[in-house]
Amino acid sequence: MINLRRHRAILLAYLGMLLLLLLTSVVAPGFLSAAHLRSTVVLAAFIGIVALGQTFVIIGGGIDLSVPWVLNAAAVLMTLAAAGQNGPLLYIVPLLLVAGALVGAINGLGVALFGVPPIIMTLAVNVILQGGILVFTGGAPTATAPPAIQFLAVGRIAGFPVILILWIVIAVVATLLLSRSAFGRYLYAVGSSAAVATFSGVPTLATTVAAYTLSGFAAALAGMLLTGYTAQAYLGMGDPYLFTSIAAVAIGGASILGGSGNYIGTIAGALVLTILTGLLPALNLSNGALLVVYGVVILVTVSLGSESIAAFLGSFRRARRGDGAAL
């Protein structure tokens, strides 16, 4: 049984996405071609994979601002270590995924065990990684991505983008984890109310650490895949993903305060953001104006979906009807 009330925000996200597609096809007629749609979905996949971890962390009531440089570090270290060769990837990729997960675990422990506010903890880790990579590379890494990675990012199997297959697998696993596993239950509980979760015997520490660990893992994975798309790693390549990873989750209907949302929503969020990015240049806006519109649209979308705004508008309507007076 589908509960409309509960999934209203997610439905809204998909409706918004369709609306945007229609709008785009009017403004830029070539947009709905198969080739263009495919490239849009591929671009959305990167956002979707980065936002995978962010989804878990935000549902658990936290936020991960270390995404950009975990992503960037994994990308730079992978290209440097592999030096364009496929062979070394066999141990480099697993090693870097574990390293990303470890960074996430440190975030989680800082938040759940030592009580550092998530914003501070993950921002600090982000800056530390940024500095570390700058020192390590001397400022200008030049290595290119190995062919295997490029295949994963831009290759096709029977005309179907490989990255999309990967994204679908990730989406299935993430959705099962959230809706059908004990970990998922605990995560929503911790995000709803850490106190209630504790009183109910939920392992809150382990749950929080696991969410951040997953986020570190996802960021590292996305970083390496992204080098395949851009053909090389460069400093600052992760920076756009800070805002987009959070925005995708929020547009997807999750409460930024935790306890609600799911990955199906995040997928819609990633698609909306990508379509928007494609649409705005078609309107012949300058780069600056483009950013302004981008920000405003995201703000409005997220606000419309947010429970508190809905409640606020609702109370406004009630007050005008006059039955708010009893309060």
């Binding site: 929503y188 709803s192 504790t198 109910s200």
Partner: protein, 501 residues
């Protein structure tokens, strides 16, 4: 002497709930006037009206012969009424002096506030009333709870009040400071101020009050000169008569098997040296005045906070350090917490998700939850507890208080723990659901559950519990059963320094 403060037929309702039905009070300047009553009798509402925090629906109050109807706390203070509440109003980041003079700071000719002036004024104020030693320039966050309470009193005195209200002001104070405060109340009154003194401690009231007014169920039921009345009469006035058809018949179902055995159990400075056995099939009541260790007992048993001494569950020694460790299935213990909304329920989540949160593993197979099995558990609980809801997917926050409490009960019953800790499970719940909860408790006891039951309503303990353990100052004052298990007996043990015979 004429009445300085006179309240007549003061009424206050919150929606359909009557907080004050008809409160009357006459008090003279220069006396200490005690206000007594059980929790929920309306004392707090009444003094909040006096302090301007709440506005009465009807009734008249006169102060020094003039109509007194303060719009807000500022107006009350301007009229010379200062109150010290149980909930502290200090700002942790400000210093003692800044708090004392908050919003009526002594100003320099330029209209500025100087720290030195504030500190000097505070030191002078503290010296005049022989305050315990607290430095005016310390940050309030660094003070102990008792010290904050003292600062709160200083803040009230800094306004040179004509009426000083002290609401349970000694509950956080150690003995020496309590003595000081009692002396202070007397000397302030001797200087012409009316002191309204609210305390559960009859001994204190006897020591300082000139007169006593007793509230019960929102109404004034008696007023006395302190010398002209004995403790027994006051307690009888506080309790009144009650209907008791609310309660199911009590059939003794306790066996000899000890479910929960405590030896030398304690928690921090609030609870110590508790020796107690809860038996299989027994409902053991816990009683005590507010802040005498009941909360600490329940929290420590459930693994929240540090505990000392030994705990044995069903004969096995256990070291429970977290709720997760407590909720270990059939041999564990489960808690229905005091604060439904912030500790018991995820308000935005469905009844189903709330009910099964503690037992996700019971319906998880090969790492995946099984919705069919979950649904079976949920439906079983909704049926047994008669939870009234449109569907199991309804958010728990939209249920009535009674049904919310049933969901919490259901969550704990699903854990299969056979030792239940119930902390004030009927507070704020309609009478019908109360009856259902009592019936459920007796039925569970008959099935072999062991129940530890605290209630702020003494009548519930008397009528539902097999025995009642009374706490006073964090220690076990008495265990009452049979005829001794009466509201009278409990109050005596909880309030009067010697244990009840």
């Amino acid at each position: 002497m004429t009445d300085f403060l006179k309240a007549t037929a003061v009424v206050k309702r919150y929606g359909g709930i009557v907080a004050l039905g008809r409160a009357d009070l006459s008090a003279r300047a220069g006396e200490v006037h005690a206000l007594l009553g059980e929790n929920g009798a309306g004392k707090s509402t009444f003094i909040q009206i006096l302090a301007g925090a709440v506005r009465a629906d009807s009734g008249t109050i006169t102060l020094a012969g003039e109509a007194y109807r303060p719009k807000n706390p500022e107006a009350a203070q301007a009229a010379g009424v200062a109150a010290v509440f149980q909930e502290l109003s200090l700002i942790p980041d400000l210093t003692v002096a800044e708090n004392v003079w908050f919003r009526h700071e002594p100003l320099s000719p330029l209209g500025t506030v100087r720290a030195a002036t504030l500190n000097a004024a505070t030191a002078e104020l503290f010296a005049r009333y022989r305050f315990p030693d607290i430095r005016p320039d310390r940050e309030v966050r660094r003070l102990t709870l008792a010290e904050r309470q003292v600062v709160e009193i200083g803040k009230a005195l800094s306004r040179n009040p004509r009426v000083l209200i002290l609401d349970e002001a000694t509950s956080a104070l150690p003995p020496a400071e309590t003595e000081w405060l009692l002396g202070l109340a007397r000397s302030v009154a001797a200087a012409g101020t009316l002191v309204i003194y609210i305390s559960h401690r009859l001994g204190e009231v006897r020591a300082i009050a000139d007169r006593i007014t007793v509230f019960r169920n929102g109404e004034t039921v008696a007023a006395y000169e302190t010398q002209a009345v004995d403790d027994e009469t006051i307690i009888a006035d506080m309790l009144g008569r009650r209907m008791d058809r609310l309660y199911p018949p009590r059939v003794a179902t306790a066996t000899d098997r000890v479910a929960l055995g405590l030896r030398g159990f304690g928690a921090g400075s609030k609870l110590s040296g508790i020796d107690l056995d809860l038996k299989e099939g027994e409902v053991l009541g816990v009683a005590g005045l507010q802040g005498h260790g009941q909360r600490e007992l329940f929290q420590a048993l459930f693994g929240l906070g540090r505990a000392e001494g030994s705990v044995a569950l069903w004969g096995q020694p256990r070291d429970i350090r977290s709720p997760r460790a407590a909720l270990s299935g059939r041999d564990g213990l489960a808690l229905v917490p005091e604060d439904r909304r912030s500790h018991g329920l995820m308000l935005a989540k469905s009844i189903r998700e709330n009910l099964t949160l503690s037992v996700v593993r019971r319906f998880t197979r090969f790492g995946l939850t099984d919705p069919t099995r979950e649904q079976a558990l949920v439906e079983e609980m909704i049926r047994t507890l008669r939870i009234k809801a449109d569907s199991p997917e309804q958010p728990a926050g939209t249920l009535s208080g009674g049904n919310q409490q049933k969901v919490i009960f259901g969550k704990m019953l699903l854990t299969e723990a056979r030792i239940l800790l119930l902390y004030d499970p009927t507070r704020g719940i309609d009478v019908g659901t109360k009856g259902e909860i009592f019936t459920l408790m007796r039925r569970l006891a008959a099935e072999g559950y062991a129940i530890l039951f605290y209630s702020s309503d003494l009548a519930e303990l008397v009528h539902v519990a097999d025995r009642v353990a009374v706490l006073r100052n964090g220690r076990l004052a008495a265990v009452l059963e049979g005829d001794d298990n009466s509201e009278h007996g409990i109050l005596r043990a909880a309030m009067i320094e010697r244990a009840a015979a």
